[in-house]
Symmetry: C2
Subunit: 227 residues, 2 copies
């Protein structure tokens, strides 16, 4: 089957182009040119440019998910807080190393509005991994229950629904805290990458460390043993 190999060659070249020129710079003709084939032949493998983009989005989520899960596993002996910090640092590092791919995943949805069903599962791996330490800490009794504001009924239902799918024994407050931490982490990475911090804390290394430690505290994770 040369088809699988050629399909992969196309996505590889596409990813190369996005890494260099961003999602807007992805041109089917240029990909075909680089692969030494006619542009029309490319449509045998991807019915449209958007489909190729979708494939690249899935690959991006997969790469980021792999990186985060690997970091989680490697930090296992550091405890739940160490795992959380390691995943945060890995996410930021991946984003800085692949800024255009990150923008493809977490920037504006490029064509009109998108949410192809195929991208949902790969995308969900990231928040699921981030939830890991919190879930384990909760089960081990090392994370606090938190926190001040009581959950309104509708939100509680939403969070219990999420919990039912991923960690039925974890109370909705903890799920809510995880979602907050998730949005906070990627909000910060996006702000740094997209240049919104330029006038303030722009070399954001220290601010990022400051933040993820603080979020760990919000999450009720125990104080870290070491870096």
């Amino acid at each position: 089957m040369a088809r699988r190999e050629l399909t992969q060659a196309i996505t590889t070249e596409g990813r190369r182009q996005i890494a260099q020129h961003g999602a807007d710079g992805l041109s089917l003709r240029a990909v075909a040119r680089e692969l030494g084939m006619a542009s029309s032949a490319l449509y045998r493998y991807f019915p449209s440019r958007d489909e190729l983009l979708t494939a690249l989005i899935i690959e991006g989520y997969t790469a980021l998910g792999d990186a985060i899960e690997t970091a989680d596993a490697r930090a296992d002996r550091l405890g739940v807080t160490g795992r959380w910090l390691a995943m945060c640092r890995t996410a930021r590092a991946w984003a800085r190393q692949h800024p255009h791919e990150y923008a493809l995943l977490y920037g504006s949805p490029v064509p009109g509005y998108r949410a192809p069903a195929d991208t949902i599962d790969p995308a969900a791996r990231i928040p699921l991994a981030l939830l890991g330490p919190l879930r384990d800490g909760w089960r081990a009794g090392t994370v606090a229950g938190q926190h001040g504001v009581p959950l309104p009924a509708g939100l509680s239902g939403q969070l219990e629904n999420v919990a039912g799918q991923v960690a039925p024994d974890v109370p909705p407050e903890v799920i809510g805290a995880a979602i907050r931490a998730w949005t906070q982490l990627f909000g910060l990475i996006s702000f740094e990458l997209f240049g919104h911090l330029v006038g303030s804390v722009d070399p954001a290394d220290e601010f990022f460390e400051y933040e993820i430690v603080d979020i760990a505290g919000q999450l009720g994770l125990p104080a870290p043993s070491a870096t």
Copy 2:
């Protein structure tokens, strides 16, 4: 001076197109067509498509900044916490009413990497407005000093530098908390608008309320008197 009017007609039509089809759907030729003129004539007013986009970005920041500042002023009698909540709700409402414009401001920077100097000042109005209640509360002694994690030296310098430009009497910890709240707010709005919350807390109204009240607590703002 027909020049000013025509320039404005172009940006108005451009904004209309972006609102309908997103930033990618902005076409100089289509704008010219809609205005009944040759596409080449448009270059008398904007030297390139990117320049027109920059003008629209500035208009977007200005519109959002106006909305937030107005909300702040209107909530004056509600106290600092009420002002904070009002601005958060207004920011979210504006984003939901102008999703494509919001994506233009806070989504991926579209052409390569951008940060035209002209956009910085209009963009800075938003975090500055959000800082307002926190600054006033600090001066009135109604916000706590916070918080657990001590500031590393480099970050402290960055934050003092920011403080020196906008509120010299406010300590760096409070500036840091404001930046955190700012990234948290727009991180959440972006996640909602870009569809990342679809599987979890998707009708995000309650989660958003839950969040901004919690952030107010993190900021050390006093409990709100009323909604």
